[in-house]
Structure formats: structure tokens, C-alpha cells
């Protein structure tokens, strides 16, 4: 990209500001640990050494919402937990994204009853839904890479 192809390698890169900002956002996105139930175990397996997440920039998971930009809702959201989820989403600073991991977070999953929210998108806006019960770690990595594609296509004005 830019003029360095013509003049050798002077150590200069030219790009648009939007592409630079989006690139930096994807390369070091820190998720918040929101593991609720069984999907959390697969999320932990994804963080461990077999399916390493550090190679995609998620070296560590920040427990504090003030320091994270991605919320992976892993597990079923019950009636008592719903307001807590919304509160934590509101505490996260912009720009922020949400991945609904697993069937219970996407659509209520196996449980169609009084106690579970039928999909976490009743409470927070979701960017990527990952299907599976629980999804394999490769499935979640595919979901995260899909989110990266979405972020790279964003405009700066989306997050005023």
C-alpha cells in the first residue's frame, strides 16, 4: 500500500486513518470474562495452549468492564442475571462489540421456559452470533475472525 513499492523501503507506510484505526482495534481486542455456564469452559479451552487466542491479539482477558472492548456472552442468561449484563455493557467504554457465544446466548438454546432470556439480543445489541452447544473452540475463533472482518469494514464516524 502506498508509495514504498516504488521507492524501495524507506520505513514509511501510507494508508488511510480509518484503516489504521480499525487495524489497531482488531489486533489487540481485549475480551471481558463473561463466562456464565458451559460455554465458558470452551472459551477457557480456547484461551489455553491448544487453540491459543494470543495469536489473535487476545493475550489476556480483563475482568473489569472499564478496560475491555469485547464482551463474549458465553452461557445462558437467567432472569436474575439480565440486569447485571446490561449494567456491565453500559459500563464498557466505546468502541465495544458483543459476541453471543453458543445457542443459549443467541436464541435461548435448549431452554424455552420462564427462567432464561430467549437470546441475549433482548438486552444488548449483538454483532456476531456463534452457533453450537457448546461451539467448538475453532467455531468461536471463526466467530472472532468474522468480527474482525466486520470491524475492518467500519467507518470512523460509527463511534463518535
Amino acid at each position: 500500500m502506498g508509495v514504498e513499492g516504488k521507492t524501495g523501503n524507506p520505513g514509511v507506510v501510507t494508508t488511510s486513518l480509518e484503516k489504521l484505526v480499525n487495524w489497531s482495534r482488531t489486533n489487540s481486542m481485549w475480551p471481558m470474562t463473561f463466562g456464565l455456564a458451559c460455554c465458558a469452559i470452551e472459551m477457557m479451552a480456547m484461551q489455553a495452549s491448544n487453540y491459543d487466542m494470543s495469536r489473535f491479539g487476545m493475550e489476556l482477558m480483563r475482568a473489569s468492564p472499564r478496560q475491555s472492548d469485547l464482551m463474549i456472552v458465553a452461557g445462558r442468561v437467567s432472569q436474575k442475571m439480565g440486569p447485571v449484563l446490561r449494567n456491565l455493557y453500559d459500563l464498557m467504554p466505546d468502541p465495544k462489540w458483543v459476541i453471543a457465544m453458543g445457542d443459549c446466548a443467541s436464541c435461548g438454546g435448549v431452554y424455552n421456559n420462564y427462567a432464561i432470556y430467549q437470546g441475549v439480543d433482548e438486552i444488548v445489541p449483538v454483532d456476531v452470533y456463534v452457533a453450537g452447544c457448546p461451539p467448538r473452540p475453532e467455531g468461536l475463533i471463526h466467530g472472532i475472525l468474522t468480527l474482525y472482518e466486520k470491524v475492518k469494514a467500519e467507518k470512523l464516524a460509527d463511534w463518535k
Binding site: Q79, N112, Y114, A115, P125
Partner: protein, 170 residues
């Protein structure tokens, strides 16, 4: 029935006029609900049932007497046997005395039964909801409480359900 449980059943029949039944090698005793503390004390002190494994309830809804059955499952670590004791309860919000003083583990178990069935426990130190939010109305595991499921939106009922769905930004 093994020889350890035989004297227990005899004692229960004479003291509480219990009805004993046996199904698949398990003994169940049906006692009147007012005698639950005496029965528990007898089992703990005289016969050595040191664990109260489970406390739960069953709702026989359209049937009025009894409407509920309280089920207590006792276990003896020395003789390795289970014993199920049931007590029948009637009415919309029945009440029974708490077993908390005899077995401290009954505290949370009875809170859960109160939460899900609405059975009051007299003398309980802290009777509030355990699993559901504190302002929830109703007791879910009763048979007349609906499951609360979301109806699936097929093509034949698409428009009726679409009208009821909330729309807009979060």
C-alpha cells in the same frame, strides 16, 4: 427390605401410624405432616441417620387431598441405606414446621422448596427466595404455573407473532 430398616418401619407404624410401601428395594414411609420434627429426631438420635440427603416436594395439582407431598430422603453412613419419608399437605399455601434445628442442611433446601412451590416453613430463620429474583410473583414448579415458553414463529403464524414482538434500538 434389609434387616436394618425393619425395626425403623415397625417403630414408625406404632408411633406415627405411618404407611410403609416398598418399590424397587426402596422403602417409603408416609407420616402425618405435624409429626415431621419428631420423626426426624427419632431417625437422627435413635437409628443413626446422620445425613438429610434431599428435601423436595411433589405437586399433585388437580387432586385436592393431598395437594403436595413433602419428600425427605435420609441416609445413614454407617449402614449405607436410604429411607424416604413423605408427608401430605393440603391447600393453596400450606405450611409445615421446619427441620432446621434437627438438620442444619435443611435451611437452604427449604428455602428452595418455598421458592419453587410456595410451601411455608414455620420457625424458619430466613425464609426468602433462593433461586428467583426477590420480587418474582408465583411459584414456578406448581402444576398450574405455565412453562412460559416462547412460541416458535413458523410461516403459518408469522404475522400474529410479529405484531407482539418488540421493535427498535436497544
Amino acid at each position: 427390605m434389609n434387616e436394618f430398616l425393619q425395626p425403623v418401619v415397625e417403630k414408625f407404624k406404632t408411633e406415627f401410624k405411618a404407611e410403609a410401601s416398598e418399590f424397587r428395594d426402596e422403602v417409603t414411609l408416609l407420616i402425618p405432616a405435624e409429626k415431621n420434627i419428631e420423626a426426624a429426631l427419632l431417625l437422627r438420635d435413635e437409628f443413626g441417620f446422620d445425613l438429610l440427603s434431599a428435601v423436595t416436594a411433589v405437586d399433585y395439582c388437580p387432586q385436592k387431598t393431598p395437594r403436595f407431598h413433602m419428600v425427605y430422603i435420609f441416609y445413614s453412613t454407617s449402614h449405607k441405606t436410604y429411607l424416604t419419608v413423605r408427608a401430605g399437605l393440603d391447600g393453596e399455601s400450606p405450611s409445615i414446621r421446619t427441620l432446621e434445628k434437627v438438620y442444619p442442611s435443611a435451611n437452604w433446601r427449604e428455602r428452595e422448596v418455598y421458592d419453587l412451590f410456595g410451601i411455608h416453613f414455620e420457625g424458619h430463620s430466613d425464609l426468602r427466595r433462593l433461586l428467583l429474583p426477590p420480587d418474582w410473583k408465583g411459584h414456578p414448579l406448581r402444576k398450574d404455573y405455565p412453562l412460559g415458553y416462547e412460541e416458535v414463529q413458523f410461516t403459518f403464524n408469522f404475522k400474529e407473532i410479529d405484531v407482539r414482538k418488540p421493535k427498535g434500538e436497544i
